[in-house]
Symmetry: C2
Subunit: 556 residues, 2 copies
């Protein structure tokens, strides 16, 4: 594909899922990558720490890659940058100041800062390569400095919304640049890639400012400490907590490593305003009267190691929740985290705290626009073709139905999947099949991609019923038992109370070995197979459980 | 406690949690138990099938137990009956006809039907023992035949609401018996134990009938099959699906073992009305035109083995989802199931189905009354003391705050915990400490209560990083290695691709054994400990993972 009159759009993540957003855009022999996010492991991915997109396609087209352009600084948009730059060192990365600030932290954590070439956008259009000019357009989101991107190419203009909403009264005063977006729309857009996360919610999302109004009500009535938990990147939210604290004569402590670091960066870059003397260190909390203290902390998702969860479990070194404290959980649970969040809330209630959470009072608004905002965006950009991204299948389906109702013909609405090659020119959009390798790469400890299906299946099995190991030493000449059988188990039954069962297993092993027709035939693998089957049957009969059985036969 | 002028209330489950409801009420030397439910395991209870209350207290007071009285037929109220009757055979069980019908299934499943003495309530008051008269009061809930219970005792009347709401237009026409409840209230109630599950939601829950209106809209527009998934006990919901199907000339197939069985029972007892010729067998689905078929199925919680989930995964033997099918998921996800439910919905969309779920249209209403209904109940009963039950801590806390706002003094509102002995007479309510043993009993396969903390901790460890087993044969005289080291692992790294690492582990083992100061000192446990530490360090350094390490040393 060396002709530049068409584009190829290759989603590498973020479709059919929430997380690890990444899309490759190819024009001629040049590729620009939009975003480089991570996802969090699902319940099945036991023991896995993080999930990144499979970037084989990028490695295979290394020389074509002109840049990675970032829409904003959330983990699901920048979290896999370190892994990408490890494989593709020196690729220029474009973003707004706060986004790049957050990237710097990530990259230095993974020791990849040396591989990074970080570049700010120019005010208007940034020339990235022969075929790509990138124009950032300011949008509203739950992190400052978020942009949509217009990629101007010889084949036409592609607009990627990034994550967006239209907040008419944003905390930082930075309005969605509707004028610029309209102008781009009027000039003609080939295809729009649109956030569709909140397509299920009718109307418009409320302004971030309503959260501040709730804060004011809560702070004005609070007699002791106020503890506010939110995402560590939610600068607007923290700003509002600071503003209200200042209003009511409270000092503010920031707890949680990511919270401290992000807010430090935001402050340095001018995105967070905190009057001199407002901030206190965690150590100073106890020395001030409770009504003069605000604690801003991580843990709004109930993450077991985060500060709020540790406070709820009474395991935090510096903050002990006492009766009369007010806790604001300023977030909603990400799907999969509900249990952890409610556990934290329940524990805080048990400790006597007054807990304010979404549903009780408006303490959270989404960063993603609702249905009417998605429609507004689609009408402003008025593209020839439209492709929903950043959503699970049901969201993609409902966005497509919405676009169809708005007048886009069904064949002009793209329902893509990860790894698809979507080819678009002024006449049509087509699915050109799949790239050879795509999907998810699981990261566990130091291992990137080495946790296979087999390992995950074994972990699931072990989690369910544990394992039992059988050890036998056989004489290499006679095949007779010279050591063992030793039987040990973990996660199956409590060994101290299962002597009888273990004894029965040993008897069964001896019985099976005696029944061998030819003791000199040391076919260990068939012995092992026989033991696995027979002991498995015995254990199931006795316990209705199916532990993993691992026979180890040694020749002595 | 042989005086009958006071009551002891001992919650054995259902407080600080949703699930396994069970409360013992003692007056003099007699005990009546209200409900006998199960809970589903939390994420930490890996491999556990079910959770029941610890009934040691009941076993210890065997001779005092006069009856188990049931409020309704949901699992969290009757699910542990088989386990209770196994320990306390012959205890009379009282309930309404449908509740007892569902119990019979449960009991025969666990082969405990012979231990059961099931008795229907008398129309007015049922005499259970010298000190207990039980009066059932019809309430509205998401299962027919649900009752609240008034326990009339010499110490006064205790009212337990069971699960309730006030549905003014119930499907079966059976209204909440407000007159009877008011009369009991007027006669004077010592203490009210009230459902508080939905205290967080303001106002009144909508009538079950609104779901029928949605069904009508959906069915009237559906061109092909309609598949409706709900809880297998939700007779009202199924009734509405049948009614609408009949209206639009559709036949109805019931799928899922529990759905078939429950609806069969409900039909026999007259709670489910299905015109002759309406029902078809699963085998007949394919032989009818799609617009004439309704499928009512289990799987509304995304349970992997349930019919709807198998359809979504394209693994159902008799139903294949095709483009144009309409699926109604007529439930909301129970906390912890969200992931599974959304996965099912997403997959159904992927197969081309039109999926209707809560939020898109009103296809579900809760079985538990909202805040105004809780207030109405409290005012009707107007008890001296009030104790919220059936809720997590945050719900108990918010119910208590509500009752206080309504005029109950704080000291008259009981905040109990499982195992507390709450003693109440006409003057005061007091917490008399704890019974000796209480809490949860975990059921895994055939084992009841044998899955200890140790086993669960091991399973969590294995799920995270798997295990590595080291086997060594040592000469019993010289202490020298005569067999092995053998190294094997599961769930840690993919063995086929980790030869180098395994080789390094073996070298390390040999090195450690050579370094023993005295090879004749066969202190196997210290050798094992040393290997566990040293190999653990090596593996962490190489992989950043911490598999469970199990050394097995055999004497040859």
């Amino acid at each position: 594909m060396s002709d530049t009159d068409k584009l190829q759009i290759i989603p590498l993540g973020g479709i059919g899922e929430i997380g690890k957003n990444m899309t490759a855009i190819r024009c001629g022999d040049e590729i620009v990558v939009i975003d480089a996010g991570v996802a969090f492991p699902t319940a099945e991915m036991m023991g896995v720490d993080l999930v990144t997109p499979d970037i084989s396609y990028l490695r295979d087209h290394r020389s074509m890659i002109k840049a990675i352009v970032l829409t904003h600084g959330h983990e699901d948009h920048i979290g896999s940058l370190a892994f990408v730059l490890r494989d593709l060192p020196g690729t220029p990365v474009y973003g707004t100041p706060l986004t790049l600030g957050f990237c710097r932290h990530k990259l230095s954590e993974y020791k990849q800062l040396n591989n990074a070439v970080l570049r700010g956008f120019e005010p208007d259009t940034t020339f990235i390569s022969d075929n790509f000019e990138v124009e950032p357009i300011r949008v509203s989101h739950s992190i400052p400095d978020a942009v949509a991107l217009a990629l101007h190419t010889p084949a036409g203009t592609l607009v990627h919304t990034g994550d967006f909403k239209f907040d008419q009264t944003p905390i930082d005063g930075s309005l969605f640049d509707i004028a610029r977006m309209s102008r781009i729309g009027e000039e003609g857009v080939l295809i729009l890639l649109s956030d569709c996360t909140n397509v299920e919610r009718p109307g418009f999302v409320q302004s971030e400012r309503v959260v501040g109004e709730t804060f004011d009500r809560v702070f004005s009535g609070a007699k002791r400490r106020v503890i506010m938990a939110c995402f560590a990147s939610n600068v607007h939210r923290v700003q509002q907590a600071i503003d209200v604290s200042v209003r009511y004569g409270r000092k503010v402590a920031l707890l949680g490593r990511s919270m401290e670091r992000n807010m430090e960066t935001a402050k340095q870059l001018g995105y967070l305003k905190m009057p001199e003397g407002t901030r206190i260190r965690a150590e100073e909390i106890e020395s001030l009267p409770p009504h003069m203290v605000t604690i801003v902390t991580t843990g709004s998702q109930g993450e077991p190691m985060a500060s709020l969860s540790r406070m709820a479990a009474d395991e935090h070194q510096k903050v002990k929740i006492v009766k009369g404290d007010t806790v604001i959980v300023s977030a909603t649970a990400i799907p999969g985290n509900e249990d952890l969040v409610w556990r934290t809330v329940n524990r805080l209630f048990q400790r006597g705290a007054e807990v304010i959470y979404d549903g009780v009072m408006p303490v959270h608004v989404s960063g993603h626009g609702y249905a009417e905002e998605l429609k507004l965006m689609l009408n402003l950009v008025n593209p020839r073709f439209v492709m929903p991204v950043h959503g699970e299948y049901r969201m993609l389906a409902r966005y497509s139905a919405m676009a169809e109702q708005m007048g886009w013909p069904r064949q002009d609405i793209v329902r893509a999947d990860i790894g698809d090659i979507i080819e678009v020119d002024e006449n049509a959009v087509r699915n050109r099949g799949k790239i050879p390798q795509y999907g998810a790469v699981l990261i566990d400890g130091a291992g990137v991609g080495d946790v296979s299906e087999v390992v995950l299946r074994d972990r699931a099995h072990l989690a369910q019923d544990g394992f039992l190991v059988i050890v036998l030493g056989l004489d290499q000449e006679t095949g007779e038992i010279v050591a063992g059988p030793e039987v040990n188990s973990r996660g199956f039954v409590f060994m101290d109370e299962s002597e009888y069962l273990i004894e029965e297993v040993k008897q069964k092993i001896l019985e099976r070995l005696e029944n061998r027709t030819d003791t000199a035939d040391n076919d260990y693998s068939s012995i092992a197979q026989d033991l696995r089957t027979q002991i498995g049957k015995l254990l199931f009969k006795r316990t209705q459980r199916k532990p993993m059985i691992l026979p180890v036969i040694m020749e002595v």
